[in-house]
Subunit: 512 residues, 2 copies
């Protein structure tokens, strides 16, 4: 079976007929969402339990179930590892782990995978040892990779049924209202966890900051929370959020950022009321600086900014250059502080952000997005999940979501990483289809997707180094030679689900 | 069939076996919530339609379906009547009308009931001509009366399936984000409509204030809204909200308020961190004044206040006497302004407020509530829906919800209204069961529910005029004589559903 990005797929995946990707909006969904469990709780009852083990008992968790976590604590997370350890002590096995993403810190669960406590994983991505373990096919089923919007969709439509959601709660009151902006483990938005809380059969809040009822700022309501466990610490503040993220000084990143800004400026989108998403990567962040200068120079104010939020973005709002921010995740302390205190900084769920099967996520209103890539191919397909050896080391994130929604999707990457060209005939793994990518920017040149003749036209005479994607590719190949394709076996170790539930690619186990 | 408040019920209602009320927490719910319809909307698509008729066409509304509205515009509402008129022009018939409540202004729909356009009604209550029409049995089915929490439950669990929800939107952006705090028709909280928007198959927003995307304050998200219609006006601001509600000067109401405050003061609940709900009725509002004085005198701060919100309540928050407010509906302009500007004033949905079948609505955390009554009986049962002639003229509202949740439920009423005693052997219609009522306060004396020996004890030696409910009743009967019971036929014209879905009473058609 071959899909429309020319990927060969197995006819069935985990015993189910494969739905091949056929275009960003090919799937027309029907039917109804999953219905969350009806709950019941007598007035003035007590939800607080003395330990994770007791919460596991109360939740009814048993062999073969699915558990979820959120990754807002990033590399400072203690919750996921602590809960898996407690589950191991309870001798529950055969679980599917469905976190919104995984970080290096979660390498600690590897022994529990080896013991069969976790046998399957559905996530946005993974890094480090865990990524290598996945790539080696050490799980009973292929790992299922979803975008942030795709995960929200899968939960809401019932494809990903969560039996027990464990939610790290930086601030939790005694009846289960939660926010992420107060306490020593403050992480900011709880956008990914909101979806889990709304749909999981049982919701357990873990907190190191249990306060009197009720909160004065509620992100996840008491109506969705069954049990609360107070822990000494749910995370390492240093790993959760950094100080203000700063603009890169890397000349290559600055040049890429400048070119990306040039495209935006001349795209036709760059006018009062436009909207933007910028990532937290070096070139993306650097672009914020140049875009800001252009906005000031031309007297342009953006209607909204979205995404993972960083200090440069918050400053733009505070300086009146962005009217409002919708926030699904925060990367630094100024962003968390802003979410807590600035009413124009609005928290959003992953569904509001990017689920393609609701009445319209906010990515649908996006004008401009800058996204990074590990590889790009001459069809403009983008890989953000595997490295040049075919090993899982990244995350799907909101990449394909924002790309599908935005009027102008710019993908930035260096032409080379080390001795490896980043523009290939064929990316090792397609995460975002070329159809939803409008421009590729490297430090050596810019390629515009031929589908966007209008954009190509707008860039004429601007002095930007526009060329064909093949020219960019050859420039790289001239420097490094053509890279050898990765040799793989037939074994599928991961499945890349497009945001609409169709399969855009699979990862096969490398043979060397 | 007789239920535990001794009401004779038909064995079946609308062809379904009657579930008799059996205690405030007798129903242990199981299963799953309804699943909202999966939606789909391409990026940058347009949701704005030029007329209500076009929105009706787009919604797929047809004969026999159920439509919903919210009553936050109270007697200033233009939305419900305008939509029904448009439906009549489209010649659609046999609809069930399921608004969160009805007001006098909605008498205008009577011709459309007579024409068979609306054949059934599910609501919190009705007044005026509409109430009389219901009581006369002019609908094809008995009217179904639900509390605010019960309605949220019925929608969320699928008992009340809404085909098309029409939402009056004081402020709506071009992709369907809505709030109730901006614009000439500002009504404040959209708490009732939030539930409709989350579960209806199709959601139509009607607005007289269509603004650029996106809002900086979102109550109902774009993900739930299918179509937007811009109208000249969606309501009469004078009818939507009054100036600041003021404390009564009626000496009888002041005396009742003083007694109610005395009970609170000595109840054992009155301490730092307690919580309260006060209605917008005269004695309730007057109680706010006395409670406030006692709180200041004793240095007590309430953790939260809930309910329909009024200026006196907002002042208490602003003066530091209430830490935070959860708001399902606003009654006056200062409340609307506060919701818009004060982050400690939090909007809540009717489900968060009072749905008994979620993880715990905020009424579950309530210490004190003061509620009014049209009649009370010697079993402490309360009627708020029919008058002394058995005619529907009130609303269930949050009455039974708050009563069930609160530690201390105080019902206030004058001993007599005109020549009619308010304390009877048997109320004409039970809305709130006596089991969840702790004290009855009149201007002539206080009765404590015998189930609350602890409260009786706490009130000893306080000088409050505590007596038995029978003594109160006889005091009234001595003045007026025993009222004649209402004569009714067997015809059931309305069904009073308790918040958990069981049937607590029915209204039979009076024969005179």
């Amino acid at each position: 079976m071959i899909n429309t990005v020319k990927r060969v797929l197995p006819e069935t995946i985990n015993g189910q007929a494969t739905l091949p990707y056929a275009g960003p909006f090919a799937v027309q969904p029907e039917g109804r969402r999953a219905g969350a469990k009806v709950r019941f709780n007598k007035p003035h009852s007590d939800k607080v339990l003395p330990s994770i083990e007791r919460a596991i008992d109360a939740s009814g968790l048993r062999d073969g179930m699915t558990i979820s976590f959120h990754h807002h604590f990033r590399n400072g997370d203690y919750v996921l590892n602590s809960v898996i350890e407690a589950i191991a002590r309870r001798n529950i096995k055969g679980l599917t782990l469905a976190p919104s993403s995984l970080n290096d810190v979660n390498d600690a669960i590897i022994p529990f995978i080896e013991q069969g406590i976790i046998i399957a994983i559905e996530t946005s991505g993974a890094r480090g040892k865990l990524g290598r373990l996945m790539t080696a096919g050490k799980l009973a089923k292929p790992v299922l990779i979803r975008s942030h919007g795709g995960r929200a969709r899968a939960i809401e439509c019932g494809e990903l049924h969560i039996d027990v959601a464990f939610i790290g709660a930086p601030c939790c009151d005694a009846y289960g209202n939660i926010n992420g902006v107060e306490g020593r483990s403050a992480c900011g938005s709880l956008g990914y966890a909101m979806v889990d809380a709304a749909y999981a059969d049982t919701v357990v809040a873990l907190t190191d900051n249990l306060v009197a009822h009720p909160l004065q700022q509620v992100s996840i309501p008491q109506t969705q929370v069954d049990y609360i466990v107070k822990l000494e610490s749910i995370g390492d503040p240093k790993g959760i959020a950094s100080g203000a993220l700063r603009i890169s000084r890397d000349p290559r990143e600055l040049l890429i950022a400048e070119y990306a800004t040039g495209i935006i400026e001349h795209s036709g989108c760059f006018k009062n009321g436009y909207s933007l998403q910028l990532g937290s990567g070096g070139a993306s962040l650097a672009a914020a600086k140049f875009i800001k200068e252009k906005m000031i120079a031309r007297g342009i104010v953006a209607s909204f900014g979205i995404g993972g939020i960083t200090a440069p973005f918050v400053s733009m709002m505070e300086e009146g250059l962005i009217e409002t921010i919708f926030d699904v995740q925060d990367f630094d302390l100024p962003s968390i502080h802003s979410l807590k205190t600035n009413p124009r900084h609005q928290e959003m769920s992953a569904s509001f952000y990017a689920n393609p099967h609701n009445g319209g996520p906010i990515v649908n209103n996006l004008d401009v997005v800058i996204l990074s890539a590990t590889e790009i191919d001459t069809d403009f397909n983008v890989n953000v999940i595997t490295d040049s050896n075919g090993v899982i080391m990244g995350a799907s994130g909101g990449h394909s979501d924002a790309a599908a929604g935005a009027n102008l999707t710019i993908v930035v990457a260096p032409l080379l990483r080390g001795r490896l060209p980043m523009i290939l005939d064929k990316v090792n793994t397609v995460v975002t289809p070329g159809e939803s990518v409008d421009a590729v920017v490297t430090e050596r040149g810019i390629a515009i997707n031929p589908r966007r003749a209008d954009l190509m036209n707008n860039l004429q005479g601007t002095g930007l180094p526009v060329m064909s994607i093949e020219e960019l590719q050859h420039m790289a190949y001239d420097l490094t030679g053509k890279p050898k394709p990765i040799q793989t076996s037939d074994e599928v170790v991961a499945v890349i689900e497009y945001r609409d539930g169709s399969i855009i690619d699979v990862v096969r186990k490398p043979t060397e």
